[in-house]
Symmetry: C2
Subunit: 237 residues, 2 copies
């Protein structure tokens, strides 16, 4: 029960109450939790208090809402913090930020020795290139260069390339991810990149390269390069 005499805000107490019900499986995954009205009445608090408590749990990934329907349990355990290792789209979504991806280029390409090394491939094979610009609030936040093996044919045919590629790989492609390698290196941007990312003159960028290995294949099926403005060194702790 919530207690007004405690020095802890009501919405935090209520949040803990709800969380406990989820942890103890009184409310199970994908089942609906009480409506805002019901929570107001059960705990004798105002609607703002209920909404504050609920919104924290939504933010932390425990519950989700469906407009016009209700609020539901998403998960019993937290998945804190490692989302960005998997998906930029997801990590933005977790912060309530809508991202938009624009396909700039899509091609089957020829591979030379240099690219072969980049891709960590030992022999020449089919290679598909996808270039996307990633936007948040109409501001470009990254240039993304993707290189796929023939797996791309399926992706291109069946999925929407403006959404999260990680989602497609993890959820829909039905593959086992064996290994993800990643290298981040800061450097000066090229003129073209300055233009695409709307960069000020002296600003550095980051090269983020990623290789994904699946299905026991010794070579990666997917090579990704992000070009990102580097404000990384002055973020507000």
């Amino acid at each position: 029960m919530v207690n007004r005499r405690k020095p802890i805000p009501l919405y935090l107490q209520l949040k803990e109450e709800i969380l406990e019900k989820i942890k103890k499986e009184k409310w199970t995954i994908d089942s609906q939790i009480p409506t805002e009205k019901e929570l107001m009445e059960s705990y004798n608090v105002g609607r703002a208090t209920v909404r504050e408590a609920v919104s924290i749990l939504v933010n932390e990934g425990y519950i989700y809402k469906k407009k016009g329907i209700g609020t539901f349990v998403a998960r019993k355990n937290p998945t804190y913090g490692f989302e960005p290792l998997i998906s930029l789209t997801y990590s933005l979504k977790a912060r309530g930020i809508r991202a938009y991806n624009k396909v700039v280029e899509k091609d089957k390409i020829h591979i030379d020795q240099l690219l072969l090394d980049k891709l960590k491939w030992t022999s020449t094979k089919e290679c598909y290139y996808l270039k996307r610009l990633r936007y948040v609030e109409n501001t470009p936040i990254a240039i993304e260069h993707s290189y796929f093996d023939e797996t791309f044919k399926k992706i291109d045919k069946e999925y929407d390339l403006t959404t999260s590629l990680a989602k497609i790989i993890i959820e829909d492609l039905n593959v086992n991810i064996d290994r993800v390698e990643q290298v981040i290196v800061p450097r000066k941007p090229k003129d073209m990149e300055k233009l695409e990312l709307n960069l000020e003159d002296d600003k550095l960028i980051l090269d983020l390269e990623r290789w994904i290995y699946i299905n026991n294949n010794p070579e990666p099926f997917y090579y990704l390069k992000f070009v990102i403005p580097s404000d990384i060194y002055n973020y507000p702790f």
Copy 2:
């Protein structure tokens, strides 16, 4: 100006208004923006509307609040999503989640050939080991093994090891980060890890290894291994 006849919620319109003032440097970095009361009066909206708009911008990292003082501009440009590539603490904080780190072990250690390879060092030198458990809401979310070169003596002496190591490295240590390498591999947990992370029986974990290179040194000064419960395959996209 905000407009009630538009189909866009007032708080989103107000958010855009504030953001524009920041982007166009009408309100500059670290300067105070109008108080909630002033914003209510300027835009003829209620306090909840103002607080909603402001809280989004806080979440996105544009502004920050000081209790009892006011609200201030943090940055002009977005830095969405990439900070967490370096700092777990940051990525949690961005979602309004407080993390707690507990130092389990701290030692100067002997290096054998196996470890030397792991660390990507070519010759033996001083090596300091730090093991921490990382908690959120009293739930352990990761086991962290850190290996430092002699740089650690300064860190250990001058800083609080229960805070963000990334913050210390980036902000306080005054080094240039040249390169960050990272490998993620899923595997079955050891019994000890099951215990420390409170794992259910069939759950996989992720090994996340990270090497950080600084100051043009060809060898990393810092090797990190995270052991993380893996909910990757059921992300709520």
